[in-house]
């Protein structure tokens, strides 16, 4: 798992849920695309912090993708609030795509 986290078990559950969020242009889920950088759980304040990126800073589907990330995590971890930070530092690159993702794109 390349994603930085403070809770490996919950992060695995979160990533499994986020595999349902697909970039509609590419047809690949955002986890395999390598868009998720960090997921931290703040149990005391019932918050989930997510740092993620987009394939391009000008992605017209950005609002749709970030909205979906929030919805999926809030549905998976009921009662927790999601705080999402969009970053382009470091920028997304091809190397961030998982092995499964590479296979899919090379089809």
């Amino acid at each position: 798992m390349n994603v930085i986290t403070n809770n490996n078990i919950k992060c695995t559950i979160a990533l499994a849920a986020l595999q349902n969020v697909v970039d509609p242009e590419i047809g690949l889920n955002i986890v395999d695309l390598g868009l998720i950088y960090q997921i931290d759980f703040d149990e005391a304040n019932s918050k989930i912090y997510v740092a993620m990126t987009l394939t391009t800073q000008f992605c017209p589907m950005g609002e749709s993708i970030t909205g979906a990330v929030k919805r999926v995590l809030e549905n998976t971890f009921t009662g927790m609030e999601v705080q999402l930070e969009l970053t382009f530092d470091p920028p997304w690159s091809q190397e961030m795509i998982s092995e499964e993702g590479q296979k899919y794109l090379n089809q």
Binding site: N20, V21, V22, P24, E25, I26, G27, Q38, D40, Y49, A51, T55, T56, Q57, F58, C59, P60, M61, G62, E63, S64, I65, T66, G67, A68, V69, R71, V72, N75, L84, E85, L86, T87, F88, D89, S93, Q94, I97, L105, N106, Q107
Partner: protein
């Protein structure tokens, strides 16, 4: 904890309510243009300064090409300038003014009534372009970043305004002598400022951002884009100076060579993006868009032939007609076919599914239209396009009529798919 702490990086999409009327208007204009072409095909066996030819050319250039690009441009401006569109009201104004002005102008040409219908049509179109240009300029001024793509688009809009201003003067020149020469004399100036300054510059500015984005390519070459920008604008300015002050036929090879070089460099840019793409599969819409880049070369080659012919003969009317047809029904139409089915499904998908994304399986944007209708449209269009050129060259009305039947079919199939996308309803999750 995190590297940055804001969501301002998100591109703010322009509302679909602003963009979709432009797409619908363009689709209907294309159908009307092909129907008029069917009933007026014999005009293409005569001189190019024919009322019906002028009417069809203006529906294609304004109703089809420009309205589609204005629509897509309102959607893409936030992507290009990395900021919001300045004003929705200005966007609506540009649509309403152009939507009323274009039919008036076309009516004026078709029935050769260059009085109030054509004059008011031209005035309203100029007002529409002014609204668009102001919106673009204010959006860019408010944006934090400037980039080469946005400069391409803004410069193209300035050329468009100059095109429509020259057009307005030409229209008024029919009733009152306000220009030193007759309106026909200024046709090459009006046409080339529009084709090169507006269409070519804009397509390259937008295409240079979208093609790598849709191919998910890591290729980027800002320096090359600036060279292309200088070549196109330099070539066009040179042409205008030659046309107005040194109208010697052989001089025109210089600006045409500059434009040809710019197109070759843009072709190289697209090829490099294609070679460095991450996604191996390339969809049909991107293939057509890339094909339209190659099709840019055809009119330039024809222009070389026309200028070469002019050195030894008088104007070859058929060659000029083929040239105009190749620009509007060839390059621009192929480019719009690709652009429509790449951008429109996304706009509608965002409208219908943006609140459902992640909650279950949603269709892909490309599933919003029928690929079978798209392929059938492509075949009908190619047949009509090739046959029409043969018809013009042989001045054969039967072939022209036969060709236009295919073009009407292509327009019907295009409209069918566009309406299918526009009427798409959410599938149950």
């Amino acid at each position: 904890m995190f590297i940055t702490n804001n969501n301002d990086n998100l591109v703010k999409n322009t509302s679909h309510k602003v963009v979709l009327p432009f797409y619908l208007y363009a689709a209907i204009s294309f159908l009307v243009a092909t129907i008029l072409l069917f009933f007026s095909s014999s005009a293409f066996t005569q001189h190019y300064f024919h009322p019906k030819t002028l009417a069809i050319t203006h529906i294609m250039a304004l109703g089809w090409g420009t309205m589609m690009i204005l629509g897509a441009s309102h959607q893409l401006v936030p992507v290009l300038i990395e900021g919001r569109l300045y004003s929705i009201k200005l966007a609506y104004s540009s649509f309403v003014l152009a939507a009323v002005g274009i039919p008036l102008l076309v009516y004026g040409f078709y029935f050769f009534n260059m009085g109030w219908p054509a004059q008011w049509g031209a005035i309203l179109i100029n007002a529409a372009i002014l609204a668009y240009l102001s919106n673009l300029a204010f959006s860019m001024a408010k944006s934090k970043k400037e980039n080469v793509h946005a400069v391409f688009v803004l410069t193209a809009a300035l050329w468009l305004l100059l095109t429509t201003l020259v057009g307005l003067l030409q229209v008024c020149n029919f009733s009152d002598t306000i220009l030193p020469n007759d309106s026909l004399h200024y046709l090459p100036l009006h046409a080339h400022i529009g084709m090169i300054g507006w269409f070519l510059l804009l397509v390259m500015g937008v295409g240079s951002r979208l093609i790598p984005m849709f191919l998910i390519s890591k290729y980027s070459n800002t320096k090359l884009l600036w060279v292309i920008y200088a070549l196109i604008n330099g070539g066009l300015l040179t042409f205008i100076i030659f046309f107005l002050y040194f109208p010697k036929t052989s001089f025109y090879f210089i600006p045409v060579a500059a434009i040809l070089f710019a197109i070759a460099l843009f072709g190289y840019y697209c090829y490099s993006s294609f070679k460095q793409r991450i996604r191996r599969q390339v969809d049909e819409q991107i293939k057509i868009s890339l094909l339209s880049v190659i099709m840019m070369l055809l009119p330039v080659i024809l222009l070389f032939i026309i200028i070469g012919w002019l050195l030894v003969n008088t104007v070859n009317t058929q060659l000029v007609l083929v040239y105009g047809f190749v620009v509007f029904f060839g390059w621009i139409t192929a480019m719009i076919f690709g652009m429509t089915f790449k951008t429109l499904p996304f706009i509608v998908w965002n409208k219908v599914y943006h609140l459902q994304a992640g909650l279950g399986k949603t269709p892909n944007p490309k599933d919003l239209f029928s690929s079978r209708i798209f392929n059938a449209m492509g075949i009908a269009y190619l047949l009509g396009f090739v046959l029409f050129i043969i018809g013009i060259y042989n001045a054969d009305n039967f072939i022209l009529k036969f060709a236009t039947a295919f073009l009407v079919l292509a327009a019907l199939l295009y409209n069918w798919n566009v309406i299918k996308i526009l009427l798409h309803k959410s599938t149950k999750l």
